[in-house]
């Protein structure tokens, strides 16, 4: 078993990286003084993985949209009861979620860590579904999908992704549609499971109050060696251009909601993730609360509730989104696009750059104060092919020139869209 201590001098902390003989990588971050521990068992498999094969398969298989999320729901069941019942005996609070590119099973606990980690490793490596149990879930998930259909905040974001992307599956709702999930059956679920829930395609991260030896012991006891696997994901080439510039949906809302997106070039998985950090800083520099743009929009009464900037990166996508509520979203869009053009022409002032660097550093430092944030960030970095501490180092060592380069490449008005939800 390979063990390595990863240390960061800047914040004076360290964690343990273990390559378990089963094929699973474990990243363990004990934190002094904390009462709770937070564990996440994740597979690099999300809603966008709808066409794939392994080295053993002859052909690619295409599966219905929403199947990764469906599988997540079904994993909690086993032949003798469900995982929640087992966790109830240890007092751990358990949950799971599916995103575009990963599925994570997690728990938080304060006692009986050893028992809880064993449950986690056990139920995620032990699938059990039958025709009946799969059919029963259809009603529950259809309800969940309907709930999101009524949620204007969710709709406005997905309508933007649908507007920005022509081919990439990131434009499809994570839960799929009522129609697509109707095609899901036990065989398809097993096919997905056997491909993506291979320990070599997974990672276990734990942060907080726990003894790493307990994790190693539980892994030794529960995990069986997984054969190495090569997964090939079929991805359609995504054009640089957006699918449509503007999209409006009508739902009962008080003030129109908007999402403005800049579709950025795909630079490959790891680089997309690094660019995401830079692009977050750029969003702050151009649209944040310290900017002239923000002041102008606020004083015009266009963004009374503020605007939120976020950047999203994955294996073959990178985009930045600005959202909020406004009585005139189109005017907000126009002024934001104009501000990016101005920034490209005028460059970034030294003092502005230093200020944003300082505040971004403070924000990332904040992440290292919470077990759940560390566990989540560790997963994201690992799947992106990066070390956790690279995040804070990237910010601390960033230069104005690097940001300028990203600004010019990632924020093109012609590759942007707006999505609006209004009454």
């Amino acid at each position: 078993m390979k063990q390595e201590i990863v240390r960061n001098e800047r914040i004076g902390e360290e964690y343990l990286r273990i390559e378990h003989p089963s094929g699973l990588t474990m990243l363990l971050y004990p934190m002094k003084g904390f009462s709770t521990s937070y564990a996440m068992f994740s597979t690099k498999y999300g809603s966008i993985d709808v066409c794939f094969k392994t080295e053993k398969d002859k052909d690619f298989v295409t599966v219905p949209a929403g199947i990764a999320h469906y599988l997540e729901h079904k994993m909690f069941e086993s032949e003798d009861g469900d995982a929640f019942d087992r966790y109830a005996k240890t007092g751990a609070s358990a949950n799971a979620f599916t995103s575009f590119d990963k599925t994570c099973y997690l728990f938080a606990c304060s006692d009986q860590f050893r028992e809880s980690i064993e449950i986690l490793l056990d139920f995620v490596t032990d699938p059990y579904f039958t025709k009946e149990t799969v059919e029963k879930e259809q009603g529950i998930i259809a309800q969940e999908i309907r709930m999101y259909d009524d949620d204007p905040g969710w709709r406005v974001m997905f309508n933007l992704l649908e507007s920005m992307y022509q081919k990439n599956s990131v434009k499809v709702d994570i839960a799929g549609t009522v129609e697509s999930i109707a095609q899901i059956n036990a065989d398809l679920l097993y096919r997905c499971y056997n491909t993506f829930y291979n320990l070599n395609n997974m990672v276990l991260t734990v942060a907080g109050n726990f003894d790493p030896q307990d994790v190693i012991d539980a892994a030794d006891q529960v995990l069986k060696k997984a054969e190495p696997i090569q997964i090939e994901r079929k991805v359609e080439e995504e054009p640089a251009e957006v699918a449509r510039k503007r999209f409006v949906q009508h739902l009962p809302v008080a003030t129109p909601m908007f999402y403005i997106g800049f579709k950025s070039p795909n630079a490959g998985e790891t680089q997309n993730f690094r660019n995401m950090i830079y692009d977050e800083m750029i969003l702050d520099l151009v649209t944040g609360e310290t900017t002239e743009l923000y002041k102008k929009l606020y004083e015009q009464g266009l963004i009374n509730g503020g605007i939120i900037g976020e950047t999203m990166a994955g294996r073959d996508y990178l985009c930045s989104m600005i959202s909020g509520e406004s009585k005139d979203p189109d005017s907000v869009y126009e002024q934001i696009a104009e501000a990016f053009e101005q920034a490209k022409m005028n460059g970034i002032a030294d003092e502005d750059f230093e200020r944003i660097k300082k505040s971004t550093y403070g924000r990332y430092l904040g992440m290292f104060g919470k077990p759940e944030s560390i566990a989540a960030a560790t997963v994201n970095c690992y799947f992106a092919g990066m070390d956790l501490y690279e995040l804070i180092e990237l910010v601390a060592n960033s230069t104005k020139e690097e940001l300028m380069e990203r600004l010019k490449a990632d924020f093109l008005t012609e590759n942007s869209s707006i999505s609006i939800v209004m009454a």
């Binding site: 904390f34 109830a88 007092g91 709930m147 509520e325 924000r363």
Partner: protein, 439 residues
Amino acid sequence: MKQDQIGDEFMEYPLIRECIANGVYFSSITDKKFKHNRISVNLIVKLDREKVTDRAVVPFILRQGSKNCPDFTDLNKKLCDLYGASLDAGVDKIGEYQMITLGIIGVDNRFALSGEDMVQECTRMLCEIVLEPDITDGKFNVKNTELEKQYLLETISSEINDKRTYANIRCKDIMCKNEACAIKKYGYAEDAQKITPESAAKAYQELIETAQVEIMFEGCGDPNAAKEIFRKKFAEITRNPISITKCCTRPQQGEVKQVVEKMDVKQGKLVMGFRVENMDSYTKMNAERVAIGLFGGTASSFLFKNVREKMSLCYYCSSQYDRHTGIMMVYSGVEAANAQKAKEAILAQLEMMQRGDFSEKDLEETKLFFKTALKATGDSLGAMDSWYLAQIMGGTEVSPDMEIELCSKVTKQDVIDAVNCVKLDTVYMLMPQDEKEGE
């Protein structure tokens, strides 16, 4: 409320609370494991239908800038320079009180790259924002007032955006009509229309003079530096503060209220409001909390396991107990056709518990759930803030560790007694327009 004998004698209440001016209290709790400090000023006043709206706009105007730094952009630049310290304004409601909060979170001194004293800098900034506002001749800045008034109006009307929250609020409205706890924390559109720079400044003055002020310090730094700054500043103000008393629960009276409303939604919502009666000690409230957790507050609760999972009647189904108002709510998302069945199933779970038809194992699991949640409180600055403010508001001094001890002593009979104090008051359904709720 009488404070019962809680926990072992050696168990100390860790919050240090000191009166630093007339009706102004400074409380602190520190732990070296944190990297940040959170300092907040909470202005607490009785919910007042006439004044609630003017008061609700105040924190947001204050957040725009102080006398010394009236420009919002300059203020935010200062925050960025303080390593992205965040300054938040908010309005909350606890029982029958409205709470206006301004708070700042910043990294601790030891992470400041140029040796800044972050605790002092953050405290000074917060003090300026709360106590030295941009008011001239009894008026707030005209432009800021107008913008924040518009935003308040939008906030009030956006209640409808999230159907889940909307249905919850509607049920409580119907249930608590004419009670102070039903007054909306952001106030009312018709009053927000009338906000002026004068009326907002007047509301501010009254808040500063009459509110009970609770200043909270949570984190890893030295609270004394912050305390002394506040002490000095509040000494300059003449105050005539209110004092907080416990809110009295009205018992359930007459027929159960039933209301169905239609809207353009795909999924229906069923919300049920209950009155919890006879909660005259902390021990009883604690047992109630455990009982309601077992009923619908956890992933192994009866509402989740039976109504949601086994019967597949709801997409979500949970219960929540607010000890400040003595109200329990049950929230669920349902297909219109299942609404009636879901309602009956929910009540059946409650009756089952009232009969004592549950196992010791069920109870033990619920206690474990609370233990985990309570232990987690001490790992988060935000969770500690809510916990200790709730203690202050309830007039009790119970730490999460003491509550764990209390929970561990709850017996099956305590739970049976607790659920028998619960009385259905109101049933509210929000249903899609084209369908009918099932019979």
